[in-house]
């Protein structure tokens, strides 16, 4: 299926995610983040955070519900049988703490072909309840052999 570059810039509905303390702990345990600031409120406060703070890569947890509709968008038309998650970038701003409500909006950043493969690049921008950006994600999927 030929890439439809007219879809570059397409945006998807923003998705809210309320950050819970036990979810941060569950995620921190799964990735081996033992720093007490990700587990214990007093340790987090002593380090200058409002509450238990999410590890940076917790971004995938609150971004996932926003990026999924982009990945599965029939108008974009990724062939999942030959798709691999080729690359990922996050650029962090404000820390994310327990109790924050994070709003994430996904968009199509680029669509291109290179060396016979199709590249699908999506962007997510996540902001907190104060309107401050917390992270900007770039998600690159590659469909091998187009």
């Amino acid at each position: 299926m030929a890439l439809d570059r007219s879809k570059i810039g397409k945006t998807y509905a923003p998705v809210d995610y309320e950050v819970g303390r036990e979810k941060i702990r569950e995620y921190a345990n799964a990735v081996g983040e033992a720093n007490p600031i990700h587990h214990d409120r007093e340790a987090a406060r002593a380090a200058g955070f409002r509450d238990v703070v999410a590890p940076p890569m917790f971004a995938v947890v609150y971004s996932a519900p926003a990026i999924a509709p982009a990945f599965f968008d029939g108008e974009i038309g990724m062939n999942f049988a030959r798709m691999v998650h080729g690359g990922q970038e996050f650029a962090w701003s404000e820390p994310v703490c327990c109790g924050d409500v994070i709003t994430t909006q996904a968009s199509v950043k680029d669509l291109y072909e290179r060396a016979g493969n199709e590249f699908f690049v999506f962007e997510t921008v996540s902001t907190n309840q104060d309107g401050a950006e917390v992270v900007r994600g770039t998600w690159t999927a590659i469909v091998r052999g187009g």
């Binding site: 799964a30 081996g32 590890p55 940076p56 947890v61 080729g86 990922q88 970038e89 650029a91 820390p95």
Partner: protein, 130 residues
Amino acid sequence: MQAGDAIPELKVTPDRWLPHRYAGASGDFNPIHIDPEFAKNTAGLPGNILHGLWTMAQVARAATQAGGGDPRRLRRLSVQFRGMGFPEKEITVSGTVSRVEDDGTVVVDLVAEQDGKQIVRNAEAEIAAG
């Protein structure tokens, strides 16, 4: 830290059930990560494979530790996923400082290897001055 300096290596061995715990933590229940039979018989893989974003989280841990353990100093991390990671085999994340910006930001090139193969490559982290 100066250009050319190695950062401390991070070694981690995901246990057999780690992909299940990460699936629950992340919400990614793709059966290629948690169902060995599906991975082999339907997806044609050697076995169930690690979530790439879990492996990226190990690269993030190594970069955070290089910055003294304060997650606020990790400003950016980009990775390329290549190859597949598997449970029950040790992963080593290593890195080298590629440059130091005028504002003190340290840029580190990282790689995650398992069984001598790179499973995350061309990773680049920006660590803000402490």
